[in-house]
């Protein structure tokens, strides 16, 4: 939890008497950064203002013998449990409402269908239908109260929603029927028909639809449930040389946490003791357990498979990679891609427009309809109100996004929002940074070609000493090579990194230059026959670098960065999908050509400076390409930001999940093809849903209004309209759920 100067609420556990209040308040006030602290004994909460972190406040309360937790920091799993319980209760209520309404509606409907007289002609019928009318009123109260309350409250607020349509539809049918029963003479003899069965059936069917939709909705959030389920509940920490088992919320930064084989890693940290293999598949999709020893990072939610380790907590609570992933997935699941905007605009005007259509329908039947015009006008207006379904439109996009984003997260692909999801499905060109994206990003020295005037040991010592000041991956390779050979590194003066060229410095009273051919040229150092040898190395996909001592070329050191084992297959998958794959690298032309050839890429740009990567992206965009850019998220930030979709490749758990539109949790490029495949599948699903919802309303409303009557003498029953409306939303949710079965074709 980060620092905050806002008001923080702590729930205090174990405070049994009022005298505890003073003790707890004093402990909180002593915490650095606290401005004020006040405890409410009645509800066992403490309000604290100031800049102290939540962890510090919890520690202060614990120091005086009580437990505390942040009120707003309720565990995701607890929240999920509460939500599921609430949903179950609501489901039971909906089922009960359905049973009550249908137990009145179904017999009435069967009576009508089997030839029963649904009109009011005799006093006996009047009395019987009055009883049925009152029974239906009871159904409306017991099973449909929420529709009427919602409709009335919305109406008072100058708003109209689905409740308005249901309340108006069922209300009109009931009211008309009651008028037929109470004052039959007010209605023409032919129109003295009662529609109580429609009211009860519609209420029953819509409740049933809502219940089934609730069940189906539960499935759409399975991915996030799985992620939340990864969180451990307790942690074993070592405090005062003793192992203490505490709630995960109470783990503090720098706590030493002990994890035995088979246990989950409770928070993020760095291993300080032990050696083990950790299964990170749940976060990264990487199936092989990863070896961890001292100074390696471990992430919350992953599983320790073999040895016992101790690690120092570096990120706890909401700051762990898992918590950030959960929060990001939740946010993304609730964001909307632009494709849903039209449906949103329509939803805004939908209900009042349907009400107007219902009025026009009634007027049309009254003016031009055959007898009994009044009954037909009422039936058709009611059917229009009932069949219209704003919910299907409203649900079409969010349900698919919810499942699609969750599905991607399961494959180790974190999609930042709906817009990224939509754009990723349209990518036509994918720009890949070479180092760390196509290749392992861990180069190794392959060749050291030394001039006759120098010794290999001397060259390696000076080159490694000079490069020890550089953070470039190629420099690291040279330092590692020297360390392997137990070469002692010397101090370096006047070290300077020359962007796009190399480095310079002084060591052992010698002036050293190390870098590419351009640097040598700039310094007036002749390459001689070394130039030829450098070309030969470059053709083998190696990066040759020149090393000059006191103005004379001393050696070529060649470094190669192996291509990741699945890069070639993943690039082929992208190309098979019709995506133009382009490689960018700072390497020279020949090395770039060799790497590109090995990776199966025909288009590449060599000797690209970091700042020019964004320009390349821009050039592609100007050529009407929808550009995806993949990089490590650090050096490529401007290019990632400029691209239509920026993909950051995370390795393992070290992810900069805020830096890109889409983050690939594992290093494999298959994540790119997976991300694009999931995006395409989701967009197709959204389109199906939107199309279905549009067509349903566009075709359903005129049919309900009776447009088929003049041609075929056909009218839609309000009961059928009720069933169609109830199941239209369910269809949308179920179609979104089909996405759960989607499997990216990973190699």
């Amino acid at each position: 939890m980060s620092e905050s100067n806002a008001n923080q609420q702590l729930l205090i556990e174990g405070a049994g008497c009022a005298s505890c209040v003073g003790k707890i308040e004093a402990a909180l006030k002593k915490t650095p950064g606290v401005v004020s602290a006040q405890m409410n004994f009645a509800d066992r909460t403490a309000s604290v203002t100031g800049t102290a972190s939540t962890q510090a406040l919890i520690a202060a309360v614990e120091s005086v013998g009580y437990n505390a937790r942040a009120v707003e920091e309720q565990d995701d799993e607890d929240l999920l449990g509460e939500k599921e319980l609430a949903d179950r209760t609501y489901y039971k209520k909906l089922v009960r409402d359905t049973v009550i309404a249908l137990s009145v509606g179904v017999p009435l409907m069967l009576f009508g269908l089997l030839g029963g007289d649904m009109t009011v002609t005799t006093a006996m019928q009047r009395a019987a239908w009055l009883g049925v009318g009152l029974l239906t009123l009871a159904v409306m109260y017991v099973s449909g109260k929420h529709f009427y309350t919602g409709a009335w409250k919305s109406f008072k607020n100058h708003n109209a929603n689905m409740d308005t349509l249901i309340a108006l539809g069922t209300g009109t049918a009931w009211l008309y029927s009651m008028v037929v029963v109470a004052i039959p003479e007010a209605i023409p003899a032919m129109a003295r028909h009662v529609y109580f069965e429609a009211t009860a059936m519609i209420i029953g069917l819509i409740n049933l639809g809502l219940a089934l939709e609730l069940k189906a909705r539960g499935k759409t959030s399975e991915a996030i449930k799985r992620l939340i389920g990864l969180q451990a509940k307790t942690a074993t920490v070592i405090r005062d040389n003793k192992e203490v088992q505490i709630n995960i919320a109470q783990v503090l930064l720098d706590d030493v946490v002990k994890v035995r084989p088979g246990e989950k890693i409770p928070v993020d940290g760095v291993v300080c003791e032990g050696h083990t293999f950790i299964d990170e598949s749940m976060l990264t999709g990487e199936p092989m357990p990863v070896e961890k020893s001292k100074n390696d990072e471990v992430a919350a939610g992953t599983i320790n498979t073999s040895g016992t380790i101790q690690f120092r907590a570096t990120r706890v609570g909401k700051d762990t990679a898992l918590a950030r992933i959960i929060s990001m997935v939740k946010r993304a699941q609730n964001s909307k891609p632009p494709i849903g905007r039209l449906a949103d605009v329509i939803s805004t005007y939908f209900v009042p427009v349907v009400m107007i259509i219902a009025v026009l329908t009634a007027l049309a039947w009254l003016n031009f309809g055959p007898e009994p015009a009044l009954a037909l006008a009422m039936v058709c207006a009611t059917t229009v109100l009932i069949i219209a379904c704003p919910c299907a439109l409203g649900l079409a996009t969010p349900m698919s996004v919810m499942v699609g984003v969750g599905k991607a997260a399961e494959a180790g692909v974190l999609i930042r929002n709906g817009e990224a999801l939509q754009t990723a499905s349209k990518i036509t060109a994918m720009v890949l940074d070479k180092t760390g994206t196509i290749t392992e990003g861990a180069p190794q020295v392959t060749d050291v070609v030394v001039a006759d005037t120098h010794e290999q040991q001397e060259v390696l010592q000076l080159a490694a000493s000079l490069e020890s000041g550089s953070e470039h991956p190629l420099a690291q390779a040279i330092v590692s090579k020297a360390q392997e050979q137990d070469v002692e590194l010397l101090p370096v003066d006047s070290f300077k990194a020359l962007t796009g060229l190399g480095v310079e410095g002084r060591c052992d009273n010698k002036t050293l230059f190390f870098g590419n051919a351009k640097l040598m040229q700039q310094q007036g150092i002749t390459l001689g026959d070394f130039s030829e040898r450098a070309h030969g190395l470059a053709k083998q996909a190696k990066t040759p670098m020149f090393f000059a001592i006191d103005g004379e070329l001393a050696a070529i050191i060649a470094v190669a960065d192996p291509i990741k084992k699945d890069s070639i297959a993943a690039i082929e998958r992208l190309q098979d999908n019709g995506i133009r794959v382009i490689m960018l690298t700072g390497d020279n032309q020949e090395t770039a050509a060799a790497v590109a050839h090995k990776a199966g890429i025909t288009e590449f740009f060599a000797e690209v400076l970091p700042e020019d990567k964004a320009n390349k992206v821009k050039e592609l965009q100007e050529a009407d390409e929808v550009v995806g850019m993949t990089g490590d998220g650090i050096n490529d930030a401007p290019a990632l930001a400029l691209a239509d979709v920026g993909f950051a490749i995370g390795t393992g758990t070290d992810v900069a999940i805020e830096s890109a539109d889409i983050t690939l949790m594992r290093g494999s490029l298959h994540g790119l093809a997976d991300a694009i495949a999931v995006s395409k599948a989701t967009l197709t699903n959204i389109k199906q849903n939107l199309f279905g919802a549009f067509i349903y309303n566009v075709a359903g409303i005129p049919i309900a209004a009776g447009v088929l009557y003049p041609f075929f003498g056909m009218l839609l029953s309000p009961v059928i309209a009720g069933a169609a409306m109830a199941f239209s939303s369910l269809t949308v949710v179920s179609n979104a759920n089909r996405l759960r079965l989607f499997k990216p074709k990973d190699a």
């Binding site: 209520k93 609730n334 805004t348 009042p352 969010p398």
Partner: protein, 117 residues
């Protein structure tokens, strides 16, 4: 029949006026935070007025079991919050520029407007 037609057309005019043209009175936010009840298809209050360039906390108290009420979206401000049942979900907005910011549920059945002046 003429009377029925006139009544019908009047009803249409009334629908247009009531749902689209009528501007409901706004609740001017004077104390922080303001609690907005989410119940029976309605945000109460639904029309809120706040001063520009201030930090505003709106406490959404969801009392409706229906999943419709579960999400709160303020699209123009990039806010997307899941509202827990029977709990307050605070939404803090900072440095708001003058303008109208509609907020609604996922299906746009619940609707409200935050007016920044």
């Amino acid at each position: 029949m003429i009377i029925i037609n006139i009544l019908g057309l009047a009803l249409i005019v009334l629908i247009v006026w009531w749902f689209w043209l009528y501007k409901p009175a706004q609740t001017v936010m004077q104390t922080q935070p303001l609690t907005i009840e989410v119940k029976d298809g309605v945000y109460t209050p639904a029309a809120i007025q706040v001063a520009a360039h201030q930090t505003v906390t709106l406490n959404f108290l969801r009392k409706d079991q229906s999943p419709c009420s579960e999400m709160l979206l303020i699209p123009d401000l990039g806010v997307s919050e899941q509202l827990e049942l029977d709990k307050v979900t605070p939404v803090t907005l900072t440095d708001l520029a003058p303008g109208e910011y509609p907020f609604h549920c996922q299906m746009q059945m619940y609707r409200g407007t935050l007016t920044v002046v």
